[in-house]
C-alpha cells in the first residue's frame, strides 16, 4: 500500500469519524465514532512514518482516554436527548467556526505552491530510541514539567470528582 492510498483511506476514516462525533446525538455513539477518528489519525501517523506515535495514539487516545469518556457517560446514565435545537449563542459561534474553517482552508485553494510533494528528511529516522534520546536530553525539562502537570491533574481530578463527605457542603 503506497503512501497516497494510505493517506486517502485513513483521512477518510478520520474525517467521517469526526463528522459523526459532531452529528450523533447519543454521546455513546459519539464516543465510538471518536475512536474511529482517532484510529484514522493513527493511520495518518503511520503513513507519515511515525509508527511509534501511531502506537501511542492508539494506546493513549483510543485506549485510555476513550475508556474514560465511556466510563463517565455510563456513570452519568444519560438518556439520548432529542434534537438539541440551536440557541442564539450556539448559532453565532457555529457561524464563527464556519468562518474559521473557510479561512483555514483558503490558503490551499489560493496558493498552488503548497501542493508540491514534500521530501522527507532523512537525518534522523523516527525510532523509539531516537525519540527517547531527544525526549530525555533536549526536552528533559519540558518532559519533567509535563509529568508534573499530569500528576497535578491526577490529584486534582480525584479531588474534584470524589463524592463529598456527609459533613461538608457539596
Amino acid at each position: 500500500m503506497d503512501e497516497r492510498t494510505g493517506f486517502l483511506l485513513f483521512s477518510a476514516i478520520a474525517l467521517v469519524g469526526a463528522l459523526n462525533v459532531v452529528l450523533r446525538r447519543n454521546p455513546v455513539h459519539a464516543v465510538l465514532w471518536l475512536v474511529g477518528s482517532f484510529l484514522g489519525v493513527a493511520g495518518i501517523f503511520l503513513t507519515l512514518g511515525s509508527g511509534l506515535l501511531a502506537a501511542i495514539q492508539v494506546m493513549v487516545y483510543a485506549g485510555a482516554i476513550m475508556v474514560l469518556f465511556l466510563f463517565v457517560i455510563l456513570l452519568l446514565n444519560l438518556e439520548t436527548p432529542r434534537f438539541e435545537g440551536i440557541s442564539l449563542a450556539r448559532g453565532a459561534s457555529l457561524f464563527a467556526s464556519a468562518a474559521t474553517g473557510l479561512l483555514l482552508l483558503w490558503p490551499f485553494v489560493s496558493d498552488r505552491s503548497l501542493q508540491a510533494p514534500a521530501t522527507p528528511a532523512v537525518n534522523l529516522p523516527v525510532t523509539a530510541a531516537n525519540v527517547g534520546m531527544t525526549l530525555f536530553q533536549r526536552f528533559a525539562v519540558p518532559f519533567e514539567i509535563v509529568s508534573l502537570v499530569l500528576l497535578v491533574a491526577m490529584v486534582g481530578a480525584i479531588h474534584v470528582a470524589r463524592r463529598p463527605r456527609r459533613d461538608e457542603p457539596a
Binding site: 440557541s87 449563542a89 459561534s93 464563527a96 468562518a99 474559521t100 479561512l103 490558503p107
Partner: protein
C-alpha cells in the same frame, strides 16, 4: 575579660528569652516562683560578674583604668575619610562599672523582692521577661563603648519602661501612662539623635574614648550640640519641662517603680552627662542651663510632693526632685558628686519604693496616705526600714543622702565663690529644696506609720514575706553606710571621687573653700534637714492643726500644690488639644478629599464595568463565540497579508 563582659549582657538576655518564650510552660512551677527565680538568678549572676569586672578595672593603674572590649563590627559603611564603622563593644571604666554595679546590685534585690510581690499576679513570666530585658538594655546603655550602642540601650530601657508601666494593660490608666511615657521620651530622643548626628559630622567619631581624644585641644563645642544631648537627658531623667511622664509611670507595679523609675533608668540622663562631661564642659553656657533646669526641677517637684495623697506619687515627685539635684550637680561641674548622689539615691529611693510596695501589699492595694496611719504597730520591720530610707532622703546625718546632697550644694556654693554670683542663687534653691525634702519625707512617714489608724475597717495588714523583707533590710543597711563609705568631703575621705575621676571632666581650677566654710555648710545643711524633719513629723502626727490652718490661710497656693501646678492641664491646652485640632482637620481632608478621589475613581470604573459585564453572561457558548470569532479575526489578518 571579653567573655565576662559578654556574659554580663547575655545572662539577662537569656533570662528574658526563656521567660518570654517558654514562660507559659513553667509559670506555675515552684508555687509560681519559677520565672522569678530564673530572672533573679540571672540578675544575681550579673552582679557577681560586675564585681569581677570591678576587680579587673581596679587592678589597672589609675591613669589607664579603661578597658575597651570590642566584640564585633556592627555597621561598616566603608568609604574614605569619613569612614563610618560602628562596633559593638563594651567599655569598662570607673563610670560604667559604677553604674553597672548599682544597676545589677540594686536590680538583684528588686528582682528578689518581685518574686514575692508578684506571686499571685497574672502574667508573672511576662513581667520577669520584661524586667530581664530591662536589665539587659540598661547594661547595654551603660557598658556600650559608643554613642550608638548607648542609644540602643537608651531606647531599650524606654521600651521596657513602656511595657512595664503598661504591664496591667487591661487598666486604661496604666496603658495611657505607658503611652505617655513613651511619647514624652521620644521628644528627648530626637534631641539625642540630632546631637549624635552632629557629633559625627563634627568630630568624625561616636566612640566614647575616641571622642574624648578628639575633644582634646578643641576650643569650644557648639552649644546647641550639647543642648541636644541635654534634651535627651531631660526626657529620660524627667526634668523640666519633660517630667510629666514620671508621676504617671507609677501606674506600673511598685518594684518596677523602684527599679526603673527611681534607681536606675531615670539616672541614665545623669550617666549621659557624666559620660559626655568632656564635651559639656567645652560648650559655652550649656552647663548653666543644666544647673538651672536641675535646680528649678528640684524646687518645683519638691513643692508638688508636699501635698500629694498617693504614697507613690509623693515618692515619684521626690524622685524628680532628687534627679534635679543631680543635674544641678552636673551643672556646677561636680559630675562625680552627681554620680555619688545617683548611687545613694538608688539605695534609699529603691528602699522607699519597696517599703511603699510592702505597705500597699499589706493594705491590699491601698495607696492613699489618708487611709493609712499608725501602721508601725502592724508593720514594725517595714516601718523601721522605710524610716531609715526617709531619713536618708531627707538628708539627716549620717545617712547616705546627707553626704551626697551636701556635696552638690557645696559644689554650687563653691562655684558661687568663683565669681559666678548666680550660683549662690542655685545654692539657695538647693537649700530650700532640701528643707522641702525633709518636710515631705517626714510627712510621708508620719502619715503612713505614726498617729491614729485611718485604715478601712476590713483591712488587716500583715508583715511582708521574707523575700520582700530581705531586700528591704539590705537596702536599709546600704542607706545607712552608703554615704559614710563612699565620701565625706569635709574630712577629705572621697574614694568614689578618686575612683571616678579618670572618666570625668575635672572641675575648673581654683581655690577650694576653706575647711571652716565646708564645715559650716555641712552643719547648715544638717540643721535645715533636722529642723524641717521635726516640723513635718510634728504637723502630720496628730491633729493636722497646723497644716489645716496654713491651708485656710493660703487657699490658692494649697490648690496649686495639690493640683501639681496644673502642668498636665497646661500641656493639654497648649499641646494636646491644638494637635488634636490639626488631626481632626487632617481627618476631614482625608475623608472628604482623599477618599472622595478614590470614590470617584471607583465609581468611574464601576460605570465602565456595567457596560462590559453584559459580556459575562454565564453562557459557555457565548464565550466560545468570542473566542472563535477572535481566532477567525486573526486568521483573516494572517491570510490577508
Amino acid at each position: 575579660m571579653t567573655a565576662v563582659a559578654a556574659l554580663l549582657l547575655l545572662l539577662p538576655l537569656a533570662a528574658a528569652a526563656v521567660n518570654g518564650l517558654f514562660g507559659r510552660i513553667f509559670e506555675g512551677k515552684m508555687h509560681g516562683k519559677m520565672p522569678g527565680v530564673i530572672a533573679t538568678a540571672a540578675a544575681a549572676g550579673c552582679f557577681v560578674l560586675s564585681v569581677v569586672a570591678f576587680g579587673k578595672v581596679v587592678a589597672l593603674p589609675e591613669e589607664a583604668r579603661s578597658l575597651a572590649l570590642p566584640l564585633y563590627t556592627w555597621i561598616d559603611l566603608g568609604g574614605g575619610a569619613q569612614h563610618l564603622a560602628i562596633d559593638v563593644g563594651l567599655l569598662l571604666d570607673p563610670l560604667s562599672v559604677t553604674w553597672a554595679l548599682v544597676v545589677t546590685g540594686v536590680g538583684s534585690l528588686i528582682f528578689l523582692y518581685s518574686i514575692a510581690y508578684m506571686e499571685h499576679e497574672e502574667g508573672r513570666a511576662r513581667y520577669f521577661a520584661y524586667l530581664s530585658l530591662f536589665l539587659f538594655s540598661m547594661l547595654v546603655l551603660v557598658l556600650g563603648d559608643n554613642l550608638v550602642l548607648t542609644f540602643v540601650g537608651w531606647e531599650g530601657v524606654g521600651l521596657c519602661s513602656y511595657l512595664l508601666i503598661g504591664f496591667d494593660y487591661g487598666k486604661s490608666s496604666a496603658a495611657d501612662a505607658g503611652r505617655k511615657a513613651f511619647l514624652v521620651n521620644r521628644i528627648g530622643d530626637v534631641g539625642f539623635l540630632i546631637a549624635m548626628f552632629w557629633t559625627w559630622s563634627q568630630y568624625g567619631t561616636l566612640d566614647h574614648l575616641a571622642l574624648k581624644v578628639a575633644l582634646v585641644g578643641v576650643a569650644a563645642v557648639p552649644a546647641l550640640l550639647a543642648l541636644g544631648y541635654f534634651v535627651g537627658a531631660t526626657g529620660k531623667s524627667a526634668q523640666l519641662p519633660l517630667f510629666v511622664w514620671l508621676p504617671d509611670a507609677m501606674a506600673g507595679p511598685t518594684p518596677v517603680s523602684a527599679l526603673i523609675h527611681a534607681a536606675t533608668m531615670v539616672t541614665a540622663g545623669i550617666y549621659l552627662l557624666c559620660r559626655l562631661s568632656p564635651l559639656f564642659v567645652l560648650a559655652e553656657g550649656v552647663l548653666d542651663v543644666v544647673a538651672w533646669v536641675g535646680a528649678l526641677t528640684a524646687l518645683f517637684s519638691g513643692l508638688i510632693a508636699l501635698r500629694q495623697r498617693d504614697i507613690k506619687k509623693v515618692l515619684a515627685y521626690s524622685t524628680v526632685s532628687q534627679l534635679g539635684y543631680m543635674f544641678l550637680g552636673c551643672g556646677v561641674h561636680a559630675f562625680s558628686s552627681a554620680a555619688f548622689h545617683v548611687v545613694t539615691h538608688a539605695f534609699f529611693k529603691a528602699l522607699l519604693f519597696l517599703g511603699a510596695g510592702a505597705v500597699i501589699h499589706a493594705l491590699h492595694g491601698e495607696q492613699d496616705l489618708w487611709k493609712m496611719g499608725g501602721l508601725k504597730k502592724q508593720l514594725p520591720k517595714t516601718a523601721r526600714a522605710m524610716k531609715i530610707g526617709a531619713l536618708a532622703l531627707a538628708g539627716i546625718p549620717p545617712l547616705a543622702g546627707f553626704f551626697s546632697k551636701d556635696e552638690i550644694l557645696g559644689a554650687a556654693f563653691d562655684a558661687g565663690m568663683h565669681g559666678h554670683v548666680d550660683k549662690f542663687v542655685l545654692w539657695g534653691v538647693g537649700v530650700v529644696t532640701a528643707a522641702l525634702t525633709a518636710f515631705y519625707s517626714a510627712r510621708l512617714i508620719a502619715l503612713c506609720f505614726e498617729g491614729e489608724s485611718r485604715l478601712a475597717p476590713d483591712v488587716h495588714p500583715h508583715e511582708a514575706p521574707a523575700a520582700m523583707a530581705i531586700p528591704l533590710q539590705v537596702l536599709a543597711a546600704l542607706s545607712v553606710v552608703g554615704g559614710l563609705g563612699l565620701g565625706i568631703e569635709a574630712v577629705g575621705w572621697m574614694p568614689l571621687h578618686h575612683w571616678l575621676a579618670p572618666s570625668l571632666a575635672g572641675a575648673p581650677e581654683g581655690a577650694h573653700p576653706s575647711a571652716f566654710l565646708t564645715w559650716a555648710l555641712l552643719l547648715l545643711a544638717a540643721f535645715v534637714a533636722v529642723l524641717f524633719w521635726r516640723v513635718g513629723s510634728a504637723w502630720f502626727r496628730g491633729e493636722f492643726e497646723a497644716p489645716r490652718r496654713l491651708e485656710l490661710q493660703f487657699p490658692r497656693a494649697a490648690r496649686a500644690l495639690a493640683g501639681r501646678f496644673w502642668v498636665d492641664e497646661i500641656y493639654d491646652r497648649a499641646v494636646v488639644r491644638p494637635l488634636r485640632g490639626v488631626a481632626e482637620l487632617c481627618l476631614e481632608f482625608d475623608v472628604r478629599v482623599v477618599d472622595g478621589l478614590y470614590r470617584l475613581a471607583a465609581s468611574v470604573s464601576a460605570l465602565l464595568a456595567t457596560g462590559v459585564r453584559i459580556l459575562q453572561n454565564g453562557v459557555v457558548h457565548a464565550y466560545a463565540f468570542w473566542f472563535i470569532a477572535g481566532a477567525a479575526f486573526f486568521l483573516w489578518l494572517a491570510t490577508r497579508a
